[in-house]
């Protein structure tokens, strides 16, 4: 396929495109010729249209060898070959070309699909009946050559026998050429199909890539927008919270009970709104990758107890029991204490939120040796230990639970399993996606297990270096 341009199917299926050499296996032909010779005793040669010898007998037939042995003989052999290649023949009308001592060659055209592709030459062979009349050209043999010996080895056939052999030979070659043509076509077609598939896939890939690029750009714009808007929202909100606080403190005079209650509501809702905006800001920072971790040594056990203390009033208000426990000795963990605290706060708050009254939320921190989870490792993992030490923080609740098929998606921003539940319990839908991003930033993992018989366990595992 040196051709840079792909041939069309029309060109491929036109036999005019092919020469005999393209269709026949040049290396396999001598085998066929020698088995033909074994069977019939007649040597055969195949010439392609441009007169090149495609295949011939393995060794020179005895008559040829004899003639090669002296100058006159050589000349005669050369003349014969010339005539064999130039004599006018058709498929149905072979020509007899005499060489010497009554022996000669039968020459025929090789056709395929009505088109001449080359010639077939049978011989040297001696005619039993000299029907065609020999030219009578005498060739003198040097004294040291024995004619009888050589002639004995030249097969003797009748003309009809020779023509039958020729026909058989033609048909065999025709089938071979057809097979060759078919194989050539099949492989060309294969290539063409592969190219066509490749072209199609490349087209699709280009389209997908540009769609992907556009989406990424949109995502970036969205993050920028979120960051800007959060900022802009915070400024007036700070004033609202600040002034309501000042009013509550009585800076501008005494308030009656009702005014105090209204202001309290304004202040409380303002704080809530501020929290929400902070979450948004966090998320957009995390998404745009502008948040950096301030790492130090963290005591995860103390952190868990601290979070439990912080959230105890919230839990009490809902009549949910909240406890933190540390299981065994824990090493210090190298991470960002503030962000880890945020992770734990979000998860615990979430757990309390989705746990009905009289339920329980338990935070457990422990050190475990973990099997490396398949599919979560990078190349070269075989070099490391199959076990690794992780600090596992488990936040278990007895709440409504999360169906298995949703467990991956709850970490998507703004996703909530059941929208009706959200309306009941509130929340922005950002908490878990922030948790996921913060855990990712610590090279950790967060996943969900069921808490039998009821509820959910959020597991954060932080690898110990």
């Amino acid at each position: 396929m040196g051709d840079s341009r792909m041939k069309t199917l029309e060109e491929l299926t036109m036999l005019e495109q092919f020469s005999l050499e393209d269709l026949l296996d040049r290396r396999a032909l001598p085998e066929m010729l020698s088995s033909f010779q074994e069977l019939t005793g007649v040597p055969a040669r195949i010439y392609s249209l441009n007169s090149g010898l495609l295949a011939g007998p393995k060794s020179a037939p005895p008559l040829d060898a004899l003639l090669e042995g002296f100058p006159d003989g050589r000349r005669r052999l050369r003349d014969t070959i010339h005539e064999v290649l130039s004599v006018g023949v058709t498929v149905d009308d072979p020509a007899w070309v005499e060489c010497a001592f009554g022996a000669g060659y039968l020459v025929s055209q090789l056709d395929h699909d009505g088109r001449a592709l080359g010639r077939i030459v049978l011989g040297p062979v001696r005619m039993k009946e000299a029907t065609q009349g020999f030219s009578g050209q005498v060739i003198r043999l040097p004294e040291d050559k024995s004619l009888e010996l050589s002639l004995e080895e030249v097969p003797e056939k009748t003309l009809p026998e020779c023509k039958d052999l020729l026909r058989f030979f033609q048909r065999t070659l025709d089938v071979l050429a057809y097979s060759g043509f078919k194989a050539h076509l099949a492989s060309s077609m294969h290539l063409a199909t592969v190219r066509e598939n490749f072209r199609e896939l490349t087209d699709k890939n280009t389209k997908l890539q540009s769609a992907y690029d556009r989406l990424r750009e949109l995502d970036r714009l969205k993050s920028n927008f979120l960051a800007t808007v959060s900022h802009e929202l915070r400024t007036p909100l700070t004033s609202i919270i600040g002034y309501s606080e000042m009013l509550l403190e009585g800076i501008s005079g005494e308030l009656n009970e009702e005014q105090r209650e209204f202001l309290g509501t304004i202040h409380q809702k303002g704080e809530q709104l501020l929290e929400l905006i902070k979450s948004l800001l966090d998320l957009s920072k995390l998404e745009s990758g502008t948040m950096s971790l301030r790492k130090g040594n963290v005591d995860c056990g103390a952190l868990a107890r601290d979070v439990a203390t912080t959230l105890a009033p919230t839990a009490r208000k809902k009549n949910v029991s909240l406890a933190a426990s540390v299981n065994g000795e824990l090493p210090l963990y190298n991470g960002d204490a503030e962000r880890l605290r945020q992770i734990l706060l979000n998860l615990t708050e979430n757990a309390i939120k989705f746990t009905p009254a009289d339920g329980s939320v338990e935070i457990e921190v422990r050190l475990v040796e973990q099997d490396v989870r398949p599919g979560t490792i990078s190349s070269g993992a075989v070099l490391g230990s199959p076990k690794r030490r992780v600090i596992e923080i488990r936040v278990a609740d007895s709440g409504i639970g999360i169906p298995e098929d949703q467990r991956e998606r709850v970490f998507d921003a703004f996703y909530q399993v059941d929208n009706s539940a959200t309306r009941e319990v509130g929340g922005s839908g950002l908490g878990l996606s922030i948790v996921k991003r913060l855990v990712d930033a610590h090279d950790g993992q967060v996943y969900i297990e069921s808490n039998e018989p009821r509820g959910t366990v959020f597991v954060v595992s932080l690898p110990c270096k």
């Binding site: 199917l9 029309e10 299926t13 699909d113 078919k182 099949a186 077609m189």
Partner: protein
Amino acid sequence: MQLDFSKKQLTIKLVYYGAALSGKTTNLQSLHEAASGDSKGRLMTLDTKDDRTLFFDLLPLTFNDKSGLAVRVKVFTVPGQVIHTSTRRLVVQGADGVAFIADSRLSETDNNTESFLDLQRNLQGQGIELEKMPLVIQFNKRDLPNIRSQAEIAEMAKMGREPVYLAIATKGVGVVPCFVGLLYRTWEQLEATHGLSEKFGFDGPEFVADVAAKLGDPRPLRDILADSVGGGVHGR
């Protein structure tokens, strides 16, 4: 179409299209059997071991017109299986006429439609409107049970512009008229675009009738063309 002025040789490409296992290859085999010695070439099939067409089948037919023009008709089939769409696109490239082979069974209606849309898409991909392509439709497998009724096909065929043929390719029934109808339609189109009669003294209807006779249908062309339903073929 390829026209070799020096050799006075015209090559026409006809493509048999259709859903998988609708009988495209069987149509070609049947044509091959019908063709007489001097006009038929070897039927070449490039198929898999389970006899599903992999790339295409090709039946070369050669007919010598009285005008001295040698007309070579290359009849191709496409592989019907859905996954071979790019091969179909390659095969249908440069087609002068298309025979769409539909499976008559009711259960195959959706597959027929899907394949027809595929044909339309593949032609469009080469900037060819299906409406401009000489086309015949064959409802094959008329001998099977649970098929679309002849009355229904005749009724629906009136709404289309292409002639519709009924066939049982395995028994050679209806195959030649369908081919002759396609050849006739294709000639009409080539005549309109290339003026063959003027250039070569080529008499299309006579040539097509001659081809039909060589394929074993000696009836007058008018009668053969009348085997179709719907899509008025000229010359009736």
